[in-house]
């Protein structure tokens, strides 16, 4: 650490920041409930203030992290020495996820102000979900991760059911049953790891697991359960069935938030377990197990794309595309060489931004024009040029068209796969890109070159042609534009970001 950054680190203790980022949204979530007692609808204002402060804290944490030489901040909660207490850890991997969570949470909140669902309890749950996601991203303890995973789950299930439809409630219940089984499988994995080592801290487990020996059946079983549990949470094929129903029947704001972040953070946790707890040494020791995870993920890549092609409902199409994308990301982390891991990380962030915004876009078009199916999108670009342009850019980010972040992510993963000899994975990425291109082009083609005759809301006049349709407020346009710009610009800046997280990548791989 150079003297300059040491001075800064003493003025603002970055460790406190890691804790405050997690705790602040959670503590503030009580305020909307107290406000309901007085019949004040303070929910949105409170949540907006808390998330704005949180975003600022996150940026401060990121700044102080990037000033440290080894890109690592560890904070022992309660001053209890690790591994006996719980610690929070921020490194190059987690900080990008934390930034994503804070940014998306704040941005989607802007959308919910006009589009709802409203209600103080809703905003309490929204803050709790944010706190849970941040906790999962920052914790350095295997069991603490489970607790935050369940906070995330509880809030997400409730939010999916926060709309007015019975379908949403049923989808939430199915989501909950599957999600809880996933979390319990993860907990069983924690149990096996604990039985083998007697410890729960991730950094300590890394050493103790290798001391016990990677050939130990308990160590291997723990790995299998941890990965399976988190794969269920991430909705990989074939345990993805809860996900399209949950995303398509949730209110738009919730669908955007949940699709952008909840599975993303589960995959991040998977990366933590594979790379930080089990390490590349374990994967090298068990080449067959590594290949199994990679091919399992590869099946997800193809199956998700194929299923997405067959959807006529736009939200379901977007949901199935996530199955494919998360397959790609999990494969990247399991390949575990520097290029693949960095590609996976880029893809994780890029997908979160793009998918959340695409759900916002789909929600806007559904509200403004009643457009839910692919054929309803005919000619939308003529009625809502700005929203449609952002939507199209984001959709091409999903495909991986250059120079978007999607392209850079896939590029790094592909290079990494070839480096490690997984040529089949590179082929699968190429094939699924073609499939993604197929359904995205089908949609964008209709938006720009279709005739708005089928949809009466688009066909007859009302509202000036230069502006956007009713329901597409400026706030929503800002959300979409920010996401499109981020998705677009992260691509060209990929190598700059790589330089920032390089020390972490080296430590992990």
């Amino acid at each position: 650490m150079n003297p300059e950054s040491a001075a800064l680190a003493t003025t603002v203790d970055p460790g406190h920041l890691t804790l405050l980022i997690v705790v602040l949204p959670i503590l503030v979530s009580v305020i909307p409930l107290i406000a309901s007692l007085r019949d004040v609808s303070a929910g949105w204002v409170t949540a907006a203030a808390a998330l704005a402060v949180n975003l600022a804290l996150t940026v401060a944490l990121a700044a102080s992290l990037f000033l440290t030489g080894d890109r690592l901040i560890r904070y022992e909660i309660g001053g209890i020495p690790v591994p006996h207490g719980i610690e929070l850890v921020a490194d190059g991997l987690s900080i990008l996820v934390v930034l994503l969570v804070s940014l998306v949470a704040f941005t989607v909140l802007i959308y919910t102000r006009t589009q709802g669902p409203r209600g103080n309890a809703f905003y309490s749950a929204y803050l709790l979900l944010t706190g849970g996601l941040l906790g999962v991203s920052l914790t350095g303890d295997l069991f603490n991760l489970y607790v935050f995973l369940e906070i995330t789950g509880l809030a997400a299930y409730a939010l999916v059911a926060s709309g007015d439809t019975g379908r949403g409630a049923y989808a939430a219940l199915k989501y909950m049953l599957v999600g809880t089984v996933g979390a319990s499988l993860y907990l069983i994995g924690v149990g096996y790891a604990f039985l083998a080592t007697g410890t729960l801290n991730m950094a300590d487990l890394e050493r103790q697991l290798s001391a016990v020996g990677y050939g130990d059946p308990l160590v291997i079983t723990a790995f299998a359960f941890l990965v399976m549990g988190l794969a269920v949470k991430a909705a990989l094929y074939p345990v993805h069935t809860w996900q399209p129903d949950a995303y398509s029947s949730a209110p738009t704001g919730v669908a955007a938030y949940v699709s952008a972040l909840v599975s993303t953070v589960a995959v991040y946790a998977l990366a933590r377990v594979v790379l930080s707890v089990y390490t590349v040494d374990f994967l090298d020791h068990h080449g067959d197990l590594q290949a199994l995870v990679i091919y399992f993920a590869a099946v997800s890549i193809v199956a998700g794309s194929v299923l997405a092609v067959y959807q006529s409902d736009v939200k379901r199409m977007l949901a199935y595309s996530s199955v494919s994308q998360f397959g790609l990301i999990v494969a990247a982390f399991a390949i575990a060489n520097p290029n693949a891991v960095y590609g996976g990380l880029l893809q994780l962030i890029g997908h979160g931004v793009a998918k959340g915004a695409l759900f916002v876009g789909a929600g806007v078009f559904a509200v403004a024009y009643g457009a839910r199916k692919v054929e309803d999108y005919e000619g939308i670009a003529h009625r809502s040029p700005y929203a449609a342009a952002a939507f199209a850019v984001l959709a091409f980010t999903l495909v991986g068209a250059p120079p978007t972040v999607g392209f850079m992510g896939k590029w790094y993963v592909g290079v990494g796969a070839v480096e490690s000899g997984f040529l089949a994975v590179a082929a699968v990425i190429f094939f699924s890109t073609l499939l993604t291109l197929a359904y995205v082009v089908r949609l964008v083609d209709r938006m720009y070159f279709g005739r708005p005759t089928r949809n009466p809301l688009l066909a007859d006049g009302g509202g000036d042609d230069a502006g956007d349709g009713q329901g597409v407020t400026h706030g929503i346009l800002v959300v979409l534009a920010v996401a499109a710009v981020v998705g677009f610009l992260m691509g060209p800046f990929a190598s700059e970001i790589q330089a920032l997280v390089q020390p972490t990548m080296e430590a992990l791989t």
Partner: protein, 191 residues
């Protein structure tokens, strides 16, 4: 078993009171329990149960407080104590009817318990940070306030107890009154 006229008019208006009478309603196989027949059925109370509950609930409540406060030295703690305290209210609800108990329990009291619990927990987390310690570092609190760690642990246990008691009672009332809108409409329809 006698009919108590005291609650009759209330229960006439409130279908959820009948739903609280679980065993009595078990008969309608395959049908929703809140059928017309069940709705008209008079509210049944047992003087014996009511007297017993009235007698033992102070003791149960005290035991809950004891379990909460004694967690540091013997098995038990905030969570178990909170559940036991909540059980007192639930017992009252099952013997005196859910609706009268709902009216008796103040909503701001429930929320106050939950918010107070959160506030106490926040104190334990945040104050050590103000005194150059880590979050939740109770030893720092001991050295600045000369109050032993043990008592700070008790404070956290009390915080948990308050939250749990408030939430469990709240859950009981919320679930027993069902979905807002549809069930409210039921009630209006009964009037």
């Amino acid at each position: 078993m006698t009919d108590s006229s005291g609650f009759d008019d209330r229960s006439e208006n409130d279908s959820s009171t009948h739903r609280g009478q679980l065993e009595a309603d078990g008969g309608e196989a395959g049908a929703p329990i809140d059928t017309e027949e069940a709705r008209r059925r008079p509210y049944v109370e047992s003087q014996v149960v009511m007297a017993t509950v009235r007698l033992i609930s102070p003791f149960v409540l005290t035991y809950g407080v004891f379990v909460t406060l004694h967690g540091a030295d013997s098995p038990g703690g905030g969570f178990q104590g909170g559940v036991i305290m909540a059980a007192t209210v639930v017992m009252l609800a099952f013997s005196f009817g859910i609706q009268p108990t709902r009216e008796w329990v103040d909503d701001s009291a429930l929320l106050g318990l939950v918010a107070g619990g959160v506030a106490l927990f926040a104190v334990a987390i945040l104050t050590p940070m103000a005194f150059d310690g880590a979050a939740l570092e109770l030893v720092v609190l001991e050295s600045t306030t000369t109050v032993a760690v043990k008592w700070w642990v008790e404070m956290v246990e009390v915080a948990i107890g308050m939250m749990v008691a408030g939430v469990v009672v709240g859950l009981f009332f919320v679930i027993s009154s069902g979905v807002f809108g549809t069930d409210e409409a039921d009630r209006e329809g009964d009037r």
